[in-house]
């Protein structure tokens, strides 16, 4: 019996090459774990019916020996993808009823790159509808549970992917992060979650929430694995004109182990004492590892969440206009064409989607545009400048990933603003397009359950490498 939870991608690849087990056996171990545990956790919306064929194909290539292995860093590795990334010939719903019955006509670029690297696309994972949420409670297809405490949320919106990796159902998974949707669930579930620099990973075939903020990234158990997946999925893509090349960001300074902590921002209201204590320990650990800790002032960073909750709904209201019951997905009959739209969108979108589309319509509407959307864009640029300037004299910014450990299912559903505040530390990296990673930093005993906590490291544009170095140092991973 292979225990998926004990294997990193790196270890599993070694075992596959040494013929200790086959890709077929590895996939079977995933399927068995899903059968055993996923009835409770509900991380997967679908396990694909062709995984065994994909595994056989991988085994055939593994027999070809070293050359295929070197070319394909994920050969034989089962990977799950969030349900907003298209997988050719498979259903894709983005957690919404409005995409009921939709079959993806092509692969998203990220999935295509996974396939080219030899990965087995195992299935699609649950998410908040259109990635709108921080708990995976907004899915039209049921709530995913936190594997550390089934009464609590796994975080969101990529909660299915984080719970699947945390509970050993799959070796790694992809998620998407618009305001923290990879890093926050990674922290809540005790795994690693990376949001790359905006533009490093193609968004082609990713169902859009807010196009200027969305970015695809991996969930893994080790930093080395996050690096492997990132290297596979990154790269310029002619189907996404916002993708950047390796040369886009010049290297501004040599990595000198200098970490900035925005103390004023971290010491805010609503912080759980366990998070504050854990953060102090983390700072001391970095000091003992030879890192210099500097207190930095970022006067505008506290406005990131406000800018985010204007820009994101504005872009969402525009992006989601395409769901009209005409081209694909759900169609509800009305008396005439316009009634069709009202019926389809009224019934197809869930509550949070309706809330954000209407809010987005408001902040873009005549008379309010300058006050909200215009000012939010100005704020976005000021925050970006402020952060870019900071990275002239520091290598990384360190904060907790979340202000609290995982909260209870239902706890924040009736108070949208309190739910939005769960993203306070993750949103700045999206606003400024910076790479950012959540790394497990310990556990806190809450009502008899050990709940994971995470810390967040953010680097300058294009400097994922600094995140990997510091992450490995922190976790004691040998590179």
């Amino acid at each position: 019996m292979i225990d998926i939870s004990k294997f990193s991608i790196k270890d599993a690849r070694l075992s596959l090459e040494r013929k200790e087990f086959s890709a077929r056996e590895l996939v079977q171990a995933s399927l068995d774990a899903i059968k055993k545990k996923d009835q409770d956790i509900k991380a997967f919306l679908e396990v694909f019916d062709d995984v065994e064929e994909q595994a056989d194909e991988a085994d055939k290539k593994l027999k070809e020996g070293e050359s295929a292995s070197r070319r394909m860093p994920l050969l034989g590795i089962p990977v799950a993808v969030k349900d907003n990334m298209l997988v050719e010939g498979k259903r894709a719903t983005a957690g919404s009823k409005i995409l009921e019955g939709f079959i993806a006509p092509e692969d998203s670029t990220a999935v295509k790159k996974l396939r080219e690297a030899g990965a087995i696309i195992l299935g699609r994972t649950n998410m908040d509808e259109f990635a709108m949420g921080s708990s995976t409670e907004n899915s039209a297809y049921g709530v995913t549970k936190n594997p550390h405490d089934l009464l609590r949320v796994p975080g969101g919106s990529s909660g299915g992917s984080s719970a699947a990796v945390a509970s050993g159902l799959v070796l790694a998974a992809l998620g998407s992060d618009t305001g923290g949707s990879i890093r926050q669930p990674a922290a809540f579930c005790g795994v690693i979650g990376l949001k790359p620099t905006y533009g490093r990973v193609s968004r082609s075939g990713l169902i859009a929430l807010a196009s200027s903020l969305d970015q695809i990234g991996p969930f893994t158990k080790t930093i080395a694995d996050a690096e492997i997946l990132f290297d596979v999925i990154k790269g310029q893509d002619r189907f996404d004109s916002t993708t950047v090349s390796e040369e886009t960001y010049p290297v501004p300074r040599k990595f000198a182990k200098v970490i900035g902590v925005p103390q004023d921002f971290v010491e805010r209201e609503g912080m759980d004492q366990s998070v504050i204590n854990n953060f102090k320990e983390v700072v001391n650990k970095f000091k003992s590892l030879g890192y210099e800790i500097k207190n930095i002032e970022l006067p505008h960073i506290k406005y990131s969440l406000s800018a985010y909750y204007i820009i994101m709904p504005a872009e969402a209201s525009s992006n989601l206009a395409r769901f009209d019951g005409v081209k694909y997905g759900l169609h509800k009959e009305g008396k005439n064409v316009i009634e069709d739209y009202f019926q389809t969108r009224g019934e197809g979108f869930g509550k949070e989607a309706r809330r954000r589309i209407i809010l987005g319509t408001y902040v873009l509407s005549s008379g309010y545009y300058d006050e909200y959307y215009g000012n939010a864009l100005k704020m976005k640029r000021v925050i970006t400048e402020e952060l870019n300037e900071a990275f002239g004299h520091i290598d990384l910014i360190l904060t907790p990933t979340t202000p609290t450990p995982a909260f209870k299912i239902g706890e924040k559903m009736s108070d949208p603003l309190s739910m939005y505040l769960a993203d306070i530390f993750t949103v700045p990296a999206n606003i400024a397009g910076l790479p950012s990673i959540s790394v497990p930093s310990g556990f806190v005993n809450t009502e008899g359950k050990m709940l994971p906590l995470g810390i967040e490291l953010t680097a300058g544009q294009g400097r994922e490498d600094n995140l990997f170095i510091a992450g490995k140092d922190f976790l004691g991973e040998v590179s």
Partner: protein
């Protein structure tokens, strides 16, 4: 924001909204808008500094409009997803 405004926005967004939902959304929107209104707090000093710089984020990327794929290559695949169709067309109700 009042209920009338919420209902008007819902019409602009083509979303059928029940009266009670408009009611509860009104309260929520006021709380949210009250919070996000702080985006006005950009210091004029920072604004000035910012206007002098051109950041990557707002740069346009252009390409030639050329090399189209062969016409009709994806028609069948894409039409398969349409809820209503007739022949090689997506079907909608009469507009005029």
């Amino acid at each position: 924001m009042d209920k009338e405004k919420v209902l008007k926005m819902a019409i602009l967004a083509r979303i059928k909204l029940a009266d009670e939902e408009a009611e509860s959304l009104t309260g929520e929107f006021n709380t949210i808008l009250n919070y996000v209104g702080e985006v006005n707090n950009v210091s004029s000093n920072s604004l000035e500094k910012m206007q002098k710089k051109d950041t990557h984020i707002s740069a346009n990327k252009m390409r030639e409009d050329n090399n189209p794929h062969e016409s009709g290559l994806y028609t069948k695949k894409i039409l398969e997803e349409a809820p209503l169709k007739e022949g090689n067309y997506i079907k909608v109700k009469k507009i005029l």
